[in-house]
């Protein structure tokens, strides 16, 4: 590159009139090895500028704010659902009368009631049948008592025979 050109650029550079492109040219020139001696003192300046551009930010940034907020709301919702689950059944448990139900439900209820009454009737009949067994047991007991009399009777006869 022509030295004359560089000198002009340096002049412009000092007046802050260079464009980015011209500054790139200057940078390339001063970072190369053959810098004219009378411009030597610019060298560290450009060297520093290009060094400084290499510095990097290495720390991690914790970007969690949105997620944690979501979790917070999920836990709030879970607690709310739990509370509802505990309290709502208590509110609705007051006893209802038959008239509060719909006609179909009433019909169903009555039918079920009839069916259950039928079953209990049959059960009672069965119980009566069982009474007969009970009587039979009674008779057996009486028979046993009679048998006892017999054994007492035989005892006394034995005693008489011994005498």
């Amino acid at each position: 590159m022509v030295l004359n050109n560089i000198e002009k650029l340096v002049e412009k550079y000092n007046n802050a009139e260079t464009t980015l492109k011209e500054e790139a040219q200057l940078k390339a020139y001063f970072l190369s090895d053959d810098v004219a001696p009378h411009l030597e003192h610019y060298k560290p300046m450009f060297q520093y500028f290009s060094n400084a551009k290499k510095e990097q930010y290495t720390k991690d940034v914790p970007l969690k704010s949105n997620k944690t907020q979501l979790y917070k709301w999920i836990s709030v919702a879970a607690v709310a659902v739990l509370m509802l689950g505990i309290f709502i059944p208590n509110w609705n448990s007051g006893p209802k009368t038959l008239s509060e139900y719909t006609p179909e439900e009433q019909k169903l209820y009555l039918e079920t009631k009839q069916a259950l009454a039928l079953i209990s009737n049959n059960l009672n009949q069965g119980l009566q049948g069982m009474n007969a067994l009970d009587m039979a047991g009674d008779n057996l007991n009486r028979g046993l008592e009679k048998a006892h009399y017999i054994s007492v009777y035989s005892n006394t006869t034995n005693k008489l025979l011994k005498n």
């Binding site: 000092n14 802050a16 003192h41 520093y48 510095e55």
Partner: protein, 169 residues
Amino acid sequence: MKQADFVKIVMPFKDKVFRLAKRLLISREEAEDATQEILLKLWKNNKKIEDYKNVEAFSMTMTKNFCLDRLKSKQAQNLKIVHSNYTDGNTSLQKQVEAKDSVDWVSKIMEDLPEQQKIIVQLRDIEEYDFAEIAKMLDMNETAIRVNLSRARKIIREKLTNTHQYGIK
């Protein structure tokens, strides 16, 4: 907006934010904190990000304002003692050697510049933004930026020439 999209938007300029923060706050730790703060602020407003025409310029403005606030705040009064990459050329031999290193010296010269000029040199000479963008970021007109830039370059040049010629600080 998902985290991945956000990272995609932020990735290209997060280093620039960090470097500008470090230029102004000098301490590396302070700059890291500032960068994190800026990125978190952006993330918090990530729904609005799509409305911004130029997220990068907006972030740089935010960084500038944030860092200047930090410098003004009481907490930053002892910033000079806190940062660990502070070099004192007089104490040890190694540091004297380092101070003679001209490249290092440029960063020291830049530390002494007024904040406005620091920002402009950082944005123009290091990050290579064009004047229109810098004007938007700093809310200044281009002429004022050129004037400031040429002054800053002059200061750096003169100080550098002095050290170069006499080997003194």
